[in-house]
């Protein structure tokens, strides 16, 4: 793992450009979401111990720290998903020359959705904005 991470750092420093950064971010967000999948199954799996155990687990997640994690997960999913669509579009529609422009759009849309999502993931933000 350390060898792979070092390789990524070396490649990124040698080819420091938006496409390389998006390649790196795609891999990091992908690995993060795979790790989350295990945690999600574990959390939902508490239902097998009974409804009270499930409700207790969900109640524990209703905290500022976990709200932040949920928001970070949302950003990771949005970026990974949109960047994945960009990769498919570049492959299928021969948009190689538009790669950089599309990369900027992916980052811009992710940023806008991340800002908007604060309303859904942070109750304090939602209460402050909702009059």
């Amino acid at each position: 793992m350390i060898r792979i991470a070092k390789g990524w750092l070396r490649e990124t420093s040698l080819n420091f450009n938006p496409e390389m950064l998006s390649f790196l971010a795609h891999r990091i967000t992908g690995l993060g979401v795979v790790l989350f999948l295990f945690g999600h199954m574990f959390s939902l799996g508490t239902r097998m111990l009974g409804p009270d155990a499930f409700n207790r687990t969900m109640r524990a997640y209703d905290s500022p720290l976990f709200h932040f994690f949920e928001w970070a997960l949302f950003i990771a999913c949005v970026f990974h998903g949109l960047n994945g669509l960009r990769i498919i579009a570049v492959d299928m529609l021969s948009l190689t020359r538009k790669q950089r422009e599309l990369t900027f759009w992916v980052v811009a849309v992710t940023a806008v959705l991340a800002a908007a999502a604060m309303l859904f993931f942070f109750p304090t933000v939602r209460d402050a904005v909702t009059f």
């Binding site: 795979v34 409700n55 969900m58 498919i88």
Partner: protein, 143 residues
């Protein structure tokens, strides 16, 4: 005769599962943040979906977003398969860039299939408990 390319099916399935995950997560997010209201916030201050609320949605005969109980079972189990396959084979692809030994690559592919199968087995058991019953009973509800 065309040459058979061994990685072609994996590549195609990666693309197809990616598209389904994108669709699935949009539905999942819309449902949880727009259509449904979590818990009984007004009464007890709880801001999460309770076990009862989830069971009602997954096993109710009343369709939501056009999905009945069976529809939700198919939707979520397909989403779980897509996430597991896309995730585990995605990790294999990442490692493949750094490992050249074909035996190791083959073993990793088998491990990814095994993990996908395990995730599905656990997922079906968890889904059954979340729906508050048997998957097969739910399947009688029609799509």
């Amino acid at each position: 005769m065309q040459e058979r390319k061994p990685g072609m099916w994996t590549w195609l399935l990666q693309r197809l599962t990616a598209l389904y995950i994108f669709f699935g997560l949009v539905v999942h997010f819309y449902l949880h943040h727009f259509l449904m209201k979590p818990g009984n916030e007004a009464v007890t201050g709880e801001r999460f979906f309770t076990a009862q609320q989830i069971a009602d949605r997954l096993s109710s005969g009343k369709p939501m977003l056009g999905f009945s109980a069976t529809g939700w079972a198919v939707f979520y189990l397909l989403l779980l398969f897509s996430c597991a396959y896309h995730g585990f084979f995605g990790v294999v692809k990442v490692v493949e860039d750094h490992v050249t030994d074909p035996k190791v690559v083959k073993a990793m592919n088998w491990a990814a299939w095994l993990l996908t199968a395990l995730m599905m087995a656990v997922g079906i058991a968890v889904y059954r408990s979340l729906a508050g019953g048997s998957l097969f009973t739910l399947a009688q509800g029609g799509m």
